[in-house]
């Protein structure tokens, strides 16, 4: 039983990381109707920035973390205003290709600036475990879950209780009507991209200590995030969080207790989740089944 609880906590920890990136994808999809294929690479870039600040410039962890979030936010806004917005009027595919171009360019940029070597990243949390009710739980796992939880709560407060948050929600669901009440919709969408970049950065920075830092840090994570977003419902922020946690715990338990699954069938497991959900209920757990208006 203790072993089981331990695995659940580990699963929640990786699930939090999936949830954060999935939330980023959902935010952008809700706001601009696009899947940002470059979300993972943007997160990788942010993680490298944090790494550079701490390793090459001697910053301590949390100030570097905060600075990275601010820079990521600015980057997200800049990308939306500079590259996405001019293409929004065209077909969805045009924007998809643009995000693919971003994926390539940012991935290449990371290698160009920091080289492709694999680096070890220190965790801000102590690596020892503490004993809770007989179960050995790693502080790093608790820390990871805590950071993502705090982020989600802050975002929720932002969306529910602030003027800006309300404007962002309005811009996402009814951009034309939002304009009529004076909301600068384009900037609200950019804010969405900025927040998504922040979420991605958090995801990357939390994942790096365990998976090591290299240009392909987020490639696999992006797929887990897709699975989480599809599972929870591609337009549902709650869904992204729940989906991420369920996926994290589920995959971990499967990997631990079901023999032939093993560690390296996790990724296909996530892909299978995508396919099964799309086959059975495309809108996911929390999504509304699309009523096709004739």
């Amino acid at each position: 039983m203790a072993d089981f609880m331990q695995q659940v906590v580990v699963g929640l920890s990786s699930g939090s990381i999936y949830a954060s990136l999935a939330l980023a994808l959902v935010l952008i999809h809700r706001a601009t109707g696009v899947i940002n294929f470059a979300q993972g690479e943007m997160a990788t870039f942010s993680t490298y920035i944090a790494w550079t600040l701490t390793t090459n410039h001697g910053w301590s962890y949390w100030p570097a973390f905060a600075a990275t979030l601010i820079l990521s936010f600015a980057g997200g806004v800049a990308i939306h205003q500079g590259v996405i917005r001019p293409n929004e009027k065209g077909s969805v595919l045009r924007v998809v290709i643009v995000t693919i171009g971003l994926l390539l360019a940012i991935n290449g940029l990371v290698t160009l600036i920091w080289s492709g070597e694999v680096r070890a990243v220190q965790s801000p949390f102590p690596t020892r475990t503490i004993d809770i009710g007989g179960v050995a739980i790693s502080i790093q796992d608790i820390g990871t879950i805590g950071v993502v939880f705090a982020t989600v709560v802050v975002l929720w407060l932002l969306f529910q209780y602030t003027k800006v948050g309300l404007a962002m929600r309005a811009a996402a669901v009814n951009p034309a009507e939002a304009r009529l009440v004076g909301v600068r919709v384009a900037w609200m969408l950019s804010l969405g991209w900025g927040l998504a970049a922040v979420l991605g950065a958090i995801s990357g920075m939390l994942a790096a200590p365990s998976v090591f830092l290299d240009p392909n840090l987020m490639a696999a994570l992006l797929i887990y995030a897709f699975a989480a977003a599809v599972l929870g419902g591609i337009d549902s922020p709650i869904g992204a969080v729940v989906g991420g946690l369920v996926l994290g715990v589920g995959l971990n338990l499967l990997g631990t207790y079901v023999d032939f699954v093993g560690a390296d069938l996790r990724l296909p497991g996530a892909l299978l989740v995508i396919l099964v959900v799309l086959l059975v209920k495309p809108s996911g757990i929390f999504g509304k089944t699309e009523v096709k208006r004739v």
Binding site: H29, I35, V83, P86, N87, G90, S91, V92, L93, R94, V96, I97, V98, I100, G101, L102, L103, L104, A105, I106, N107, G108, L109, V110, T111, L112, I113, S115, G116, P215, I223, F226, V230, I234, L265, L267, P268, L271, L272, I274, L275, L278, L279, P282, E290, K292, V294
Partner: protein, 327 residues
């Protein structure tokens, strides 16, 4: 007037055929091989265009169809002694059927969801191939080099009195099939099927109310596009003389979609430019700078810039030139 209008595309096509026939005499064997790959991509793009450009169904998984075609050829040639050329139609039919069958559950998915589903399939393909080791040779793949059933691989082959080495043979094989495939697609899309496809893309509800059977045409489109991808995959296997799970990665599927959008959706003409683009972009990017990571940056920036400059792809550019010359 009608005579003159239908003359132009036929004349252009004839000119293209002549150019294609003559090129190998002027270029090195290496270049000929590169152009052969252009033809292979063209075949895959024609198929993908039928699906995405004409019926509006987005696929990020056509690399997986290519894998099916490629492995069909590899297994038949290596394990069953079938001559490589005969495996091509088999690959086409097999992949076409798989595509058609995939089209059935795909009917329930629209736009983004379909893109994600096809993406998931394409990403899992390498792992699935590895899993069925007995069949596919697993991670070590299947080698075709030097096998007697691989035409011209050891000794040059003689066609119509001409002696062709492997690269030239490959070039003519691929382009002949590409041009034939082009004509077939053109005929198909001109007629009733093409109109039905376009109706589905423009408005599913309108199409349905006009009596167009959505399931039939959408699954048909999947089948046709898969068949083309299967042929492309088959030729790809022949060209690289080797297949393993990493021969058809997710990057290939993404590249194909890029090719179709850059070429211009819904039009056959720009596709040649699209195929040239996806074959040569990585190479040109390397020529700009060889520092690690730089080619990717160049490719990415070029891609983004193209969407700004040519939002309708090369086909859009050609259409604009045509209206300019009409004045």
């Amino acid at each position: 007037m009608r005579q003159a209008r239908s003359f132009a595309p036929i004349a252009a096509f004839a000119a293209l055929t002549v150019v294609v026939a003559v090129v190998p005499s002027f270029v090195s064997a290496f270049r000929a091989q590169q152009f052969a790959y252009v033809a292979i991509y063209l075949i895959a793009l024609i198929g993908l265009n039928v699906l995405t450009g004409y019926t509006g169904q987005i696929s990020l998984g056509h690399g997986a169809f290519m894998a099916i075609g490629g492995y069909t050829t590899a297994i038949l040639v290596a394990d069953h002694g079938v001559k490589d050329v005969w495996t091509i139609p088999i690959a086409a039919v097999l992949t076409g059927v798989v595509g058609f069958l995939f089209g059935i559950p795909a009917l329930r998915l629209s736009g983004l969801y379909l893109a994600l589903a096809t993406f998931a399939i394409a990403v899992s393909m390498p792992a699935v191939i590895k899993r069925f080791e007995g069949f596919t040779g697993g991670g070590s793949g299947i080698n075709l080099f030097g096998l007697p059933d691989l035409t011209a691989s050891l000794t040059p082959v003689t066609i119509l009195g001409q002696e062709l080495t492997f690269n030239d043979w490959l070039y003519y094989l691929c382009w002949t099939i590409a041009l034939a495939g082009y004509v077939v697609a053109w005929l198909l899309l001109r007629g009733r099927t093409g109109r039905a496809f376009r109706a589905v893309r423009d408005s599913e509800t309108a199409a349905q109310s006009s009596g167009v059977s959505l399931p039939r045409y959408k699954t048909l489109a999947f089948g046709i596009s898969a068949a083309y991808a299967g042929v492309a995959g088959s030729l790809f296997a022949i060209a690289t003389t080797f297949v393993n799970p990493d021969t058809f990665p997710i990057a290939l599927s993404i590249l194909l979609l890029v090719g179709v959008v850059v070429g211009g959706l819904g039009s056959l003409v720009g596709l040649i430019a699209g195929a040239v683009f996806i074959q040569f972009l990585p190479i040109w990017s390397q020529e700009v700078s060889k520092s690690p990571g730089a080619p990717a940056v160049v490719s990415g920036v070029v891609l983004i810039a193209l969407m700004f400059v040519l939002p309708m792809g090369f086909a859009g550019l050609l259409a604009r030139l045509r209206t300019l010359t009409k004045r």
